[in-house]
């Protein structure tokens, strides 16, 4: 039961989570981030760090969100590691506002 990055990350990629992660478990594509469940230690540091509340303990996911577990597992295995904070994607602030944060 790992932690997962959910929908809100898409088109934001604030990467605050990467800065606080003690174990380097984040992987990235052009749109968003994913957590490698084999490396994540479930410390939860990333949850409050995310400006758009995109990260959750998978036990707190609704049934509709449960698929994020598989998405994070599969995509993290295929994508490169991200270990340093990067600038958010263009338009991230607008999306954040649209998400209500």
């Amino acid at each position: 039961m790992p932690h997962v990055v959910t929908e809100n990350c898409r088109l934001c990629r604030f990467t605050e989570c990467v800065a606080v992660c003690p174990v380097e478990c984040f992987h990235a594509d052009a749109e968003r981030l994913y957590i490698d469940p084999a490396v994540c230690i479930d410390c939860g540091a990333c949850i409050p760090a995310c400006p758009v509340r995109a990260i959750a303990d998978s036990i707190d996911l609704s049934p509709e969100e449960a698929s994020w577990e598989a998405v994070n597992r599969e995509r993290s295995a295929a994508l490169p590691l991200i270990t340093k904070k990067e600038p958010p994607l263009p338009g991230a602030d607008e999306r954040r506002a649209a998400l209500g944060y």
Binding site: V20, P22, V23, I41, D42, G44, P48, D57, I59
Partner: protein
């Protein structure tokens, strides 16, 4: 998320080296969340999988909130609510009867570090039970064997500052998996790695930390002492010692060299499973890459050679001069940096000479009568502990607790498998509801925990529990009228250099303070020797061995009587332990689990979800030869007992080794957990448990 009215500076209460500065968010009278303090250099803004959502524990509907009295057969779980007065009256009248008939030693306190605060933790009940004259509990749950070995070699020194690991160039973790059980130290190790340090993990299992290491040495359980002796052999025979450091700051080098000659790499390889070339490579790299650091985890002591493993490992930094710089040395237990006033905490002056001492690993034997005790144990008082989960010989403990004539009192948060057998259950506060001052055995900060919310129901902190018991027993000593703040003031030597500039008032404002010691960038207390041993030097040959095997008095209520006393080899080494024979061919290790804290959280849905069902890790080759499939139910049996678990096939364990994490509650795990198979055997020093020497067989459950 609920509105936060205020945030209170607290401290994580658990038996973990990290002792986090914990921010407690309160809404009204309710704890609504906890967070790691971002201002604290070690906590660094995060807690962990165990303690995140502490509010779910505090406000769990399963909390015991009022005194309860058994209303059905022993172990039936049937209880009725009573008042505190009724509970105290029943406890004291039963105890007075027992004392009149059999004397006070028929009463046994049983506790450890369910909370490890200075006031409510290790020694919380010692003044009361010493005054009562009860049997003295020898509590060697954790690090006692390592402490004995370490202190014989280096004395009670903090050794290294864990934060100084960022300056290490070569780091070897023995029996330590910080990613799971010391997670706030990990960033300092990772920083060193980023700066070019090599990280080596010596562990029978490819743990999370081993996976992140540059080099994982998969070692057979219980053979670390042999590997350390092999390293010493190579370092000495290849001339890799720091002669100047050895000449000036050690004693017994020639004798150690002679002993180490018995451990050439080829012999070490046959014992440990680590190849001769790897033994040489490890020794050479460790010696030549300065500053080099060794971190030993609690698991190092859990075998019949564990104490000598700590002795050998504690010799190594001096041989190569690792102590000369920050980032070099060995880290065991920096608790010794805290100037505790243990006598005030324990009141050993009240121990009546001749009062017997009982090691707590022997609880099952003591309660069932297998251990000949005169008088037998008539009453058991449990607090800060859940022996049904954490102690070996689970079936014997259950049988003992089931004795109708045993009067058992348990102070708890929940009706645990132990509390289920109680005659009286008393409600205990959580950390959110109590005041405490926290030392640490994993960093150099003192942390104050201030209550965030009122006690839930009629729960009381241990300090208040023992004030009430003392009053009910008619003990009128002023000790039992001390307030929590007065107890805190007396628990430390505030005039000691390490506490200069630190006061309770400052801690109330700021929550935590680093001890008044050099910064981690300069922390090298033994750059020029100065070890607190009898000789003032590293005792490669230990003079303290002359007194025989012993347990530090802080683990035995301040008493020094009836110590083990068996002969101790003054030189480190490795001796074969008993094999399991053909019947029990597999070595079982039962480490602390990732999401539980000993037995804590074994009943919480979140931590259970992270842990999954009770399982045993087994190598595919061992599973294949036994017809065991991934995910199938298996029976794990030893000479002591058995439990069932789900098999997880993995090459992360060595062939011949199986691993089952500790912490699952038997009542929710098919009736038995891993301590059903662990025997009550002691390691070689300090009466550590020998859990990593357990021999088992695993079979498909029918």
């Amino acid at each position: 998320m609920q509105k936060v009215d205020r945030t209170v500076l607290g401290a994580c209460p658990h038996d973990c080296p990290d002792t986090c500065s914990m921010l407690m968010d309160v809404s009204g009278d309710k704890l609504v969340g906890v967070r790691g303090n971002p201002d604290h250099p070690f906590t660094a803004g995060r807690l962990c999988v165990k303690v995140n959502h502490y509010e779910e524990r505090v406000h769990s509907p399963d909390r015991v909130l009022h005194p309860l009295r058994r209303s059905g057969p022993k172990g039936s779980g049937q209880f009725e609510r009573i008042t505190w007065d009724q509970a105290l009256s029943e406890i004291t009248s039963r105890w007075r009867d027992i004392i009149a008939k059999d004397g006070p030693t028929a009463i046994l306190p049983y506790s450890y570090l369910g909370t490890q605060g200075t006031l409510n933790g290790l020694n919380a009940g010692d003044p009361f039970f010493n005054k009562l004259g009860a049997t003295i509990s020898e509590r060697t749950f954790c690090d006692s064997g390592a402490c004995t070995g370490y202190i014989m070699t280096l004395g009670p020194t903090p050794g290294m500052d864990p934060e100084s690991f960022r300056h290490s160039k070569y780091i070897v973790l023995f029996a330590s998996n910080p990613m799971s059980t010391n997670t706030h130290m990990w960033p300092f190790i990772a920083e060193a790695q980023k700066n070019g340090a090599k990280l080596v993990v010596v562990d029978p299992v490819r743990t999370r930390s081993a996976q992140a290491a540059d080099w994982h040495l998969a070692i057979r359980p219980g053979t670390d002492a042999a590997l350390a002796m092999g390293m010493i052999h190579v370092i000495i025979t290849e001339g890799l010692t720091d002669r100047d450091y050895v000449d000036n700051y050690t004693v017994g080098f020639d004798e150690l060299a002679q002993r180490a000659a018995e451990y050439p790499p080829e012999r070490v390889a046959s014992i440990t499973g680590v190849s001769p070339d790897d033994v040489r490579k490890l020794a050479r790299e460790y010696a030549k890459t300065q500053p080099s650091a060794i971190r030993i985890g609690v698991a190092i002591e859990r075998n019949s050679n564990g104490g000598q493993a700590v002795r050998a490992l504690s010799c190594l930094p001096a041989l190569v001069g690792a102590w000369r710089k920050p980032g070099g040395g060995i880290l065991q237990l920096p608790l010794w940096a805290f100037p505790m006033d243990w006598k005030n905490l324990m009141r050993p002056d009240w121990v009546v000479p001749g009062t017997r001492v009982l090691n707590q690993w022997l609880l099952g034997q003591a309660l069932t009568g297998e251990l000949a005790l005169d008088p037998p144990i008539r009453s058991l008082f449990v607090y800060n502990a859940n022996p049904m989960v954490v102690a070996p010989e689970q079936a014997k403990i259950r049988a003992g607790l089931g004795r109708e004539d045993l009067f058992t009192v348990v102070s708890e948060h929940f009706i645990t498998d132990t509390a289920r057998y109680a005659d009286i259950i008393l409600p205990a506060t959580t950390q959110a509801e109590q005041f405490d001052l926290m030392f640490s055995w994993g960093h150099l900060y003192l942390t104050l925990n201030q209550p965030a919310i009122p006690p839930q129901g009629e729960a009381v902190p241990n300090t208040e529990l023992f004030r009430r018991l003392a009053k009910a027993m008619g003990f009128d000593d002023p000790q039992f009228r001390l307030t929590d703040e007065e107890l805190a003031a007396r628990a430390y030597d505030w005039s000691a250099p390490a506490l200069q500039g630190i006061t309770l008032d400052r801690l109330k404002r700021e929550g935590w303070a680093r001890l008044n010691l050099p910064s981690s960038d300069q922390f090298a207390p033994h750059a020029q020797g100065g070890f607190p041993t009898p000789s003032g030097k590293v005792e490669l040959k230990a003079s303290m061995a002359a007194i025989g095997n012993f347990v530090l008095d802080v683990f035995r209520q301040g008493s020094n009587e009836f110590q083990d006393g068996s002969p101790v080899d003054p030189l480190p080494g490795w001796t074969p332990s008993d094999g399991g024979g053909a019947r029990f061919p597999l070595s079982l290790i039962s480490p602390k689990s990732h999401a539980f804290l000993n037995s804590g959280y074994g009943n919480m849905r979140r931590q259970l979800a992270h842990s999954g069902e009770q399982h045993v890790l087994i190598h595919p080759a061992d599973a294949g030869s036994r017809g065991i499939a991934e995910g199938s139910s298996v029976r794990v049996a030893s000479a002591a007992g058995e439990f069932t678990a789900i098999a997880k096939l993995s090459e992360d364990v060595l062939p011949g080794v199986v691993q089952a994490p500790m912490g699952y509650w038997p009542g929710a795990s098919g009736g038995a957990t891993v301590n059903a198979v662990n025997p009550a055997r002691f390691g070689d020093l300090g009466r550590s448990p020998a859990f990593s020497d357990t021999r088992v067989e695993v079979t498909a459950a029918g």
